[in-house]
Symmetry: C2
Subunit: 146 residues, 2 copies
DNA sequence: CCATGATATATATCATGTTAATTAAAACAT
DNA sequence: ATGTTTTAATTAACATGATATATATCATGG
């Protein structure tokens, strides 16, 4: 997250970068990118929270659901697809299990491996939450955000 | 932060959004924005961590430093300028005080108010860290990121 | 076979974000 | 002038990210 509400003016950036080395307009574009994305993330997080979800829980379910040829992923595969650390995946998994949104099954051949699949309820919750998620992104991109 | 490493294909987005309601390309642009910003934030956080800083501590100093006509801000003014909650500002302030990068002075007329100013060392650290910060943003924007 | 190393997952601890509640002082309306 | 409300800052409790460490199981060389 990028927490600066008012981005520096071009002049300010110039004075900080000392008129050389980096192009102030490029920096300004970068800061704008950061701020814009941060505001969108804030909106998405608020949306997820209203639905008893979090960004991460949502993405966790998505990566399982979007797998076309299988209906489960191992914990390691989920960790590969999400840019968070293993422990966070483990904790998120526990929460989703507690909520009955996924199942965990130990592999038959290698008992270190757990296969995680969506429950029908997990799939339903995902389906229910998706349209609003897309709506928020689309509104932000169209400049229709609140 | 947006944690999905591989963005969904246009086809996937279509299948989720049901071919109506939202434009898949717009959604894809939004997700690209989120992911790009998240990767840049990761790089910036790593840079700050290497210098014993954090994104927030850095911005805290910046908002004081960039004030043109004064050399201090109140805690409330800092909170207004940063998109974080008051308690986080209070805690960050304590850390910066401990590190000797800012000073805290109680207002003479209204003893609820604290004026926060940079110490010379705070200003030095800020000056030292800024070029690398701009460099990372510029490289990312120019597609020169690692 | 079985000690050693590699791999898959989980736990422990810490950092840093949030909201709710607290403290202290000022402002204001009788 | 004094009780009530508002404001400024902080503390308390909790959520969720990270890294380092532990546990359990598998693979493999002697």
């Amino acid at each position: 997250m990028f927490f600066l509400k008012d981005l520096p003016t071009r002049r300010m950036i110039e004075s900080y970068s000392g008129h050389y080395d980096t192009d102030p307009d490029t920096i300004r574009d970068g800061l704008t990118l950061l701020r814009r994305a941060s505001l969108l993330i804030r909106r998405l997080d608020a949306y997820f929270a209203r639905h008893g979800f979090s960004q991460l829980r949502f993405l966790f379910l998505i990566v399982i659901d979007r797998e076309t040829d299988r209906d489960s992923l191992t914990v390691g595969e989920i960790t590969e697809r999400l840019d968070v650390s293993g422990p966070v995946v483990a904790r998120t998994l526990r929460m989703l299990l507690d909520d009955g949104l996924v199942t965990k099954m130990t592999d038959e051949d290698d008992s270190r491996i757990r296969h995680i699949a969506l429950t029908p309820e997990g799939r339903d919750r995902l389906t229910a939450i998706l349209p609003g998620y897309f709506r928020i992104i689309a509104d932000e991109m169209d400049g229709k955000a609140p």
